[in-house]
Subunit: 189 residues, 2 copies
Amino acid sequence: MQELKDRILSEGVVIGDSALKVDSFLNHQLDPAFTLRMGQELATRFADAGITKVLTVEASGIAVAMAVALPLGVPVVFAKKKKAITQDGETYSAEVFSFTRKESVQVTVTRRFLSAQDVILVVDDFLAHGEALKGLVDIVGQAGARLAGAGIVIEKYFQGGGATLRANGVRIESLAVIERMGPEGVRFA
Amino acid sequence: MQELKDRILSEGVVIGDSALKVDSFLNHQLDPAFTLRMGQELATRFADAGITKVLTVEASGIAVAMAVALPLGVPVVFAKKKKAITQDGETYSAEVFSFTRKESVQVTVTRRFLSAQDVILVVDDFLAHGEALKGLVDIVGQAGARLAGAGIVIEKYFQGGGATLRANGVRIESLAVIERMGPEGVRFA
């Protein structure tokens, strides 16, 4: 998606050799109209997949998931990173290691929000090592639901998560795929 | 907002004497079209306030904040609950005690996303004791920005946060105000 690539180039800041700060429009400040356009683009790519639910994980995935689910006319479910006291005892859960934070978190989804009849699109803001996505895919499996694929805003291809998941048969659509990055900037695939 | 009250009555579950589980449409599963209608209603109430930015806190506030900001045509900033490594050193921050989780968290906003020229609408899914809202209002003050008010989905009036904030001159618009709740159900104000 050219508009996204342009914003990454103009607003993104590369930190070290693998972190990309895009907090001006993706994970701290949001541009709602632009977010809707990104969601529309992902929804278009999965328009014929028969999706019944969009699954993401709090917090940065929520805005994009909303924007994808709106044109598809389906609900969003966001996995929680910490078990809330108002959450049902009956949950699906997966452990997700964050390379950014160097820690594991448990992500959970209340069982009654996913069923074996669901066709699920997993959505997230970033795909890097693929840990979060693998956790969400695992939860889809626990529910016995069908996975339509994953819709990603920015895929950092060089970190390998996308390759592994595609090799396992997961359809991944990313709005911007970064092949390489470093002090010299960002190069798209 | 009648549609919201109807959904609280049909889908909400009262736990103990003060917790309301509305995870089927507000803080775990989301109904995107309904969320947009709630956002539109809050945007309408603050239409003449000259708002330049909507401020919320991750995670459950994000969807509603997006829905409010969209018709207002302004960005959303969501405060983070844990300092991320990609976040600037320069942040505004406030300590927020969660009665639900019985713990304090630091909420932070990168300074460059709020300025003294901003007119800010704070948005959140719940207003109970008002701890999160007080933290966000404090951050608005740190930025030297003007506070237009707070847009809330569900206010649990009996927990007193709204009364305290209104007494301090904060304009609060809540889509549903719960006067009392318990085993007998929910009574709106």
